[in-house]
Amino acid sequence: MKKETMPEALRIMYRIRLFEEHAKKMHKENLLAGNFMGALHTYIGEEAIAAGVSMLLNKDDYVFSTHRGHGHFIAKGGSIKKMLAELMGKEAGCSSGRGGSMHLFDTEINFMGGNGIVGAGLPLATGAAYRAKYLKTKQVSVCYFGDGAASQGTFHESLNLASLWKLPVIFVCENNCYAVNTPVSETICIKDVAQRASGYGMPGEAVDGNSLSDVYTAAEKAVARARDGAGPSLLECKTYRIDPHCMVAGDMRKKEEIDKWKERDPIKLSEKWILNEGIAGPDDLRKIREEVAEEIKEAEQFALSAPLPDRKKFREEAMDIDGSKGALK
């Protein structure tokens, strides 16, 4: 990773972290729309992955995300304002309030959506890669998914198709040690998800997902391979989710385990590295952080003041979506 780009990557990580800390606060204050079941899945502790991968992507490269997608969205360049409005169910949201936290979209940056179905994004990402190859656009398609998703049939089918047809897709497995409360040791019986790549004849690599530069370096190879037309790669990033699964889920993990991982906070590690290498000073970092905080304040203002969608109008329009009338009016 080029040294001068490190602060930019760190800014992405700040944006993710501060956004989510703020969203959590708003959730607790009942300001978000989805408070009932708490379908707000934070990415805190995993930021280095999206940041590291996205530093390699162009605006028109595709990203397919998951239920845990705020970080992917921000890293790709999505609007924080519009995302926050989305979490509040506002018409001005990035999905017009129709999608919510699990279904973020931004077509201007080819952010192709989160997904509420674990593992469902893999075939979709493979499809966007199919188009890129079909039209020889040199775009790549990135698919994020969790360790839990690696047990879905779609994992198997998608990796196989992508490899058979040498599609420019990068499968990024965010192995955060758990699927909700289920430890990864109870869902796979090998050391690394990445080992499965060999079953499809594609390269597979497991890296420290909390190290920005390790993620970047591995992703660089995968992206280059994809752009060169050499086909897909499986990149497993070992990391840890610091928060519970979502805002209402019970957490059965040991406190010591969580604390141990907190010491390896990807933001702290990156800050340390930047300072050590003398790429930027403490003041520079503080400044970035303040700018980000300001941005989030503005986003909150925007989202709070944006209007809610209109029930009556929705019911009327809904009638027309498929040309058939319903009884509700």
Partner: protein, 324 residues
């Protein structure tokens, strides 16, 4: 009588049937220590251990199919699909395997399996976590479909479903999960195929599915000065107790069916079809279905709530059917 929550009633039914029959085991995501996403399986792991309360990876097709195979071999699995919406990833095992194996084998093999799935709209989780898919399963020969609306019904019907030799799709409404109702301490069973009249009335027959039952009762209360609504909960869609519905229609002459699933091709249409076939002459007014909008479920609460009939919508619909 003591009152317990719907989800506790489910839990008790599981507990009792697991005690009754060592062939009963539970499989699903997070069902062991975590007790399931909604605590329906709480305490079972501690009591019965990992072989009988089995946490599965996120492999719906795999673990549902495993349950089907175990049922074919003679156990009585209860598979939990965390949200009904996720059954889309396991449909082949449900539709082409579980539902058909008994028939295809000339009745040599049974698949005595229950697939439990929390489902329904109202939790602000958007289009992929909110669907009501009962009509699909009712359309599939070989499956029974159960959809209780009260803790009492949930417990009695789940016990019967576990003992049934057919595959049963057992749909538990997430909004109703946390509502309380009377449930006796003594064991009881409720047969499949027996509707329950939740409120007596003479002016209109309102057939309501699952979470529409309380809304229908609310509407009945709102209108009680002018209109006497008879509220029928079929409780099981397959088999369906059409006799009770027809019997009520003989008295009322008017039919309104309520469900949260999209109106088009929903189970309401099926009730209208059966009523048209068997009780057309009783009808004094067009039979009507009030269902959900024909759209995916939006995230924004104001829109989500707009997708399904409210008690007010029900009252409006009833008033439109009954001339004054």
């Amino acid at each position: 009588m003591r009152e317990i929550k719907y989800v506790e009633a489910v839990n008790e039914a599981l507990m009792e049937e697991m005690e009754n029959d060592t062939g009963v085991f539970i499989i699903g995501e997070e069902v062991s220590c975590a007790g399931g996403a909604f605590r329906a399986t709480e305490g079972l792991f501690e009591k019965f251990g990992p072989e009988r309360v089995r946490d599965a990876p996120i492999s719906e097709s795999g673990f549902t199919g495993l349950a089907v195979g175990a049922a074919m071999a003679g156990l009585r699995p209860v598979a939990e699909i965390m949200y009904l919406d996720f059954i889309t990833t396991a449909m082949d095992q449900v539709i082409n395997q579980a539902a058909k194996v008994s028939f295809m084998s000339g009745n040599r093999i049974k698949a005595p399996l229950v697939i439990r799935a929390p489902y329904g709209i109202g939790t602000r989780e958007a289009a992929q976590h909110s669907q009501s898919l009962e009509a699909w399963f009712a359309h599939t020969p070989g499956l029974k479909v159960v959809m209780p609306s009260t803790p009492y019904d949930a417990k009695g019907l789940l016990k019967t479903s576990i003992r049934d030799d057919s595959p049963v799709i057992f749909l538990e409404n997430r909004i109703l999960y946390f509502k309380k109702g009377p449930v006796p301490r003594e064991e009881y069973l409720i047969p499949l195929g027996q509707a329950d009249i939740k409120r007596k009335g003479k002016d209109i027959t309102v057939v309501a599915l699952s979470n529409m039952v309380p809304k229908a009762l609310e509407a009945a209360g709102m209108l009680s000065e002018e209109i006497e609504m008879e509220v029928i909960d079929p409780r099981t869609l397959v088999p369906l107790d059409i006799e009770t519905i027809a019997g009520s229609l003989k008295k009322t002459g008017r039919l309104l069916v309520l469900h949260e699933a999209p109106e088009r091709c929903g189970f309401g249409a099926e009730i209208v079809r059966q009523v048209s076939e068997q009780a057309f002459d009783y009808l004094d007014a067009p039979p009507k279905v009030l269902g959900g909008l024909n759209v995916p479920i939006p995230f924004s609460p104001v829109l989500e709530d707009a997708c399904v009939p409210s008690a007010e919508d029900v009252a409006d619909a009833v008033k439109k059917i009954i001339p004054r």
